[in-house]
Amino acid sequence: MPVKKECIAMLLAGGQGSRLGVLTKSMAKPAIPFGGKYRIIDFTLSNCTNSGIDTVGVLTQYQPHELNAYIGSGKPWDLDRMNGGVRILPPYIRGKTGQWYKGTANAVYQNIPFIDQYIPDHVLVLSGDHIYKMDYSRMLEAHKDNDADCTIAVIDVPIKEASRFGIMDIHPDGSICDFEEKPKNPKSTKASMGVYIFKWPVLKTYLELDEQQEHTANDFGKNIIPAMLAGKQRMFAFSFQGYWKDVGTIENIWDASMDLLDPLESLILSDSKWRIYSNHPTDPPHYLGKDARVRDSLLAGGCSIFGRLENSVISHRVLVESGAAVVSSVIMSGARICAKASVSYAIIAEDAVIGEGAVIGGLPLSGCSGHPKISLVGGGIFVRSGSQVSPGSIVEQDI
C-alpha cells in the first residue's frame, strides 16, 4: 500500500511541440536536449527532488519512447523511491473504453486513481517544457498559509509579450480576481508559469465537473482555472522571481542556450545546492586539440574540438574538425562538424553530420533588427560537403 503523501506532482510531458518541427519528430518536447548535457525535463524533475517532492507522475502521450528510456527508474534525480518515486503514466484502456489524453486537465482526470492511492492533501501540476529553477516547497507553504484551493505561480513578463501568456489580475492580498488566457489587451504583466498547486479534493471535483461539460478543451488554463474562479474558490498567485523560459520555438531554445553563456543571466547551473540532475552516458573529459580556439562556450564530456568555437553550447561526443568554425550555435550530442565547415546561428541536432566546407546559417544582416534567423539541421541528417544552408532555414532531409 502506498503511504500517504502531503503533496505529489503531476508533470505534463505529452506535448508534441509542433512549432519545433524536426526537433520533435522523434521525441516529445520535454526530451529535447539542452545545455550540453541536459534535457528540458531535467529542470522540472530536479526542481521536484530539490523541493522535497518525491512522488512524480509523468504524463506522456506523444513519442514517449525517448522520454521513457531517459527517465528509467528515476535514479539520476533520486526519484527511485520505496514509496512514491517517478511513474510514467501513458493513456490506457479501461474495460471496453479508453482514449488519448484530450487535454491537460483530462490527462490528470484519467489518472485520478493514481493520485488517490497517495491520499494527497495537495497536487502540484507542472509542465515538462519550461527551463527554470524553483523551490516548490516555498510555494506550497504560501498555498497552505493562504488556505488556498488553488495557487498559481506567476512571473512578470514585458507588457508587449503578455498576450502570449495566461495573464492574472491580482488583488493586493495576492488573491486572483481575474484570469485571461492569451488576452489581446492584457490587464497586467503577471503571467502564469503553468505551475499550479491545488487542494486535491477541490481539483478532483472540478476535473469531474469539467469532464461532464460538452464544449471544453479539457485544459487547465482555458477551463479549470476559469471554472474555479467562477465558483469563487480561494485562488492565490505566488510570485516567482528568477529565470523562467518557455521553450516553444526554435528561437526560444537558441535564446535559452545563449543565456547559459551570459554571466549576467540568472540561470546559474553551477549552484551545488540546487543542482540540475540528468541521465547521461559516462564519457571521458572533452579534448581540445593543438589548434583549437574556444571562446565564451560551454562544452560537455566526450567532445573533441580541433576547430574554433565561439559563443556556443556543445553537447557530449561532438566532433569539430580542424579548420571548422562554430559561432553562436547549439550542437547536440554525437554531431560532427567536418573540416572547414562553418556553422553560425544554428542548432545542429543529435548525430547530424555537416560535411567538409559546408556553410550553415550565417551572421544576421547588418542593420537588421529583431532576432537573428536560426538555422536548424535535424537529427541524423547528413549535409554534403560544400552545401550551403541559408540563415533561418530548416534541413529535414539529407542534402
Binding site: 554571466p263 552516458p281 559516462t282 573529459p285 565564451d296 562544452l299 564530456g301
Partner: protein, 372 residues
C-alpha cells in the same frame, strides 16, 4: 560468463606514495574523471563478470565512497554484484592485517566458497587497458590450463626492473620459471598480475598456503609450484598503460591526450564507467588559450592551459598558465599563477602569482588540500 572477479585495491600503494597517503592505489584519480579501479572494474563488467569482490587494506574511505553500491558499473544486483572487503581484524594480535595476496584471499575464503562461478579472475588496478576477459577464459580453456597468467612482452629498463615480475615460458607458452622483482632489465615477459583459474583450485591453493604460512602469491606459490600445475601465459597485445611510479603516472595521464589512445581505451570493447558527479559542462568565459588538453565537466577556464589534464570542477584564473600538469578535482589556480610539470591533488589552492615548476621525470606533487 561463468566467472567471478577479485580486485586487490592496495597492492601498489608504495609506488605512488604522495598520492596514496589518503587513499588506496585503486582510488587514485586518473585521466580527468576516473579512478584507477574504474578500468579493471569496467573491463570485468563489460566481459560479463557480475560477481566482483574488492579487497581493501587501508585508507579505503575514498574507495568506498567512489564505489558505493556499484550502481555505476551495473553491479547493484540482487544476485551477486559488488562486494567490498575491509581487512578482517583478528583477535590474535600476532597476525594483524594481512600481508600479501594469499593471506588476503584467506580472509575472504567464505566469499570465494559461497560464490557459484566456475572461474575466478584475480587482478590489481595498476594496469590501464580495455581488456576482454572472455578472450582470456577462451584461451584458458583451449590450453586446458589450470592457471593462466596475463603478461606482455616488452623491454624493461634496469631502474624499472625491481617493480616487475618476469615469466619464462617453454615454446608452448607453458610457464617454466619466473623472476620476482629482479635486478636486471632487458626484453622480458612482464606479469600483469592478472591470474585466471578455477574457483575450486583457488580455494585449494589458499587453504594450502595457510597451512604453510605462505603470503605472496607470486613468490610463495607460483614461483615454487609452477611446474606442479599447468600454468600458461596469455599475451595481451593491445594498448595498455602501467602505473608503477609517480613519473609513470604522469606519463600515463599525458598519453591520454593522444586521440588514438583515448579511442582504444574508452570505446574499443565497451565504455569505462565511473561515479557520476552531476557537474555542469565546462565553461570558457572569454577567450581561452587551451590546447592539447583534457578538460572535465564543471571546469571554468579563464587562463591558458596546454598539454594538461584537468579533473572536474577545476578553476583556472585569468592570466594563469598551466602547462604539462595534472590538476585534480576542485583545484583552484589563482590569477597569473604559473605551473609546469606539476600534479596537484584534490582541493589544492594555488594563490595568485605563484610559480611552480617540476621536471618531466620528476613532477612536483602537491598533496590534497594544500594551499600554495
Amino acid at each position: 560468463m561463468d566467472t567471478m572477479g577479485i580486485i586487490f585495491s592496495n597492492v601498489h600503494d608504495g609506488d605512488l606514495k604522495e598520492l596514496t597517503e589518503m587513499r588506496t592505489f585503486a582510488s587514485v584519480p586518473f585521466g580527468g574523471r576516473y579512478r584507477l579501479i574504474d578500468f579493471v572494474l569496467s573491463n570485468m563488467v563489460n566481459s560479463g563478470i557480475h560477481n566482483i569482490g574488492i579487497v581493501a587494506k587501508a585508507n579505503y574511505m575514498s574507495l568506498m565512497d567512489h564505489l558505493g553500491n556499484g550502481r555505476e558499473w551495473d553491479l547493484d544486483r540482487k544476485r551477486d554484484g559488488l562486494f567490498i572487503f575491509p581487512p578482517f581484524a583478528r583477535q590474535d594480535p600476532d597476525i594483524g592485517v594481512y600481508k600479501g595476496r594469499l593471506e588476503a584471499l584467506a580472509g575472504i575464503l567464505t566469499y570465494i566458497r559461497r560464490s557459484a562461478e566456475k572461474y575466478v579472475v584475480l587482478a590489481n588496478s595498476d594496469i590501464i587497458c580495455n581488456m576482454n576477459y572472455r578472450d582470456v577464459i577462451r584461451y584458458h580453456e583451449e590450453k586446458e590450463a589450470e592457471i593462466t597468467v596475463i603478461y606482455r612482452k616488452m623491454t624493461v629498463s634496469e631502474s624499472n626492473a625491481p617493480r616487475c615480475t618476469y615469466f619464462y615460458f617453454d615454446p608452448d607458452q607453458r610457464l617454466s620459471g619466473m623472476a620476482v622483482r629482479p635486478p636486471y632489465g632487458g626484453e622480458q615477459n612482464v606479469s600483469f598480475n592478472m591470474v585466471v583459474m578455477e574457483r575450486g583450485l583457488l580455494e585449494h591453493i589458499v587453504k594450502e598456503a595457510s597451512a604453510y604460512h605462505y603470503q605472496s602469491f607470486d613468490r610463495d606459490f607460483l614461483q615454487r609450484r609452477c611446474r606442479d600445475f599447468k600454468v600458461y601465459g596469455y599475451p595481451f597485445e593491445e594498448l595498455y598503460l602501467r602505473i608503477n611510479s609517480i613519473a609513470g603516472y604522469f606519463d600515463a595521464n599525458m598519453r591520454m591526450l593522444d586521440p588514438a589512445t583515448r579511442n582504444e581505451l574508452f570505446y574499443s570493447h565497451g565504455s569505462i564507467y565511473t561515479k557520476v558527479r552531476d557537474e555542469i559542462p565546462a565553461r570558457y568565459p572569454g577567450e581561452s588559450m587551451t590546447r592539447n588538453s583534457l578538460i572535465a565537466d564543471g571546469c571554468v577556464i579563464e587562463g591558458e592551459v596546454e598539454d594538461s589534464v584537468l579533473f572536474r570542477g577545476v578553476h583556472v584564473g585569468k592570466g594563469a598558465r598551466v602547462k604539462k600538469s595534472i590538476l585534480m578535482q576542485d583545484t583552484r589556480i589563482g590569477e597569473n599563477a604559473c605551473l609546469t610539470y606539476t600534479i596537484l591533488d584534490k582541493d589544492v589552492v594555488i594563490l595568485p602569482e605563484r610559480i611552480l615548476t617540476g621536471y618531466g621525470s620528476y613532477p612536483v606533487v602537491i598533496s590534497k588540500g594544500s594551499i600554495v
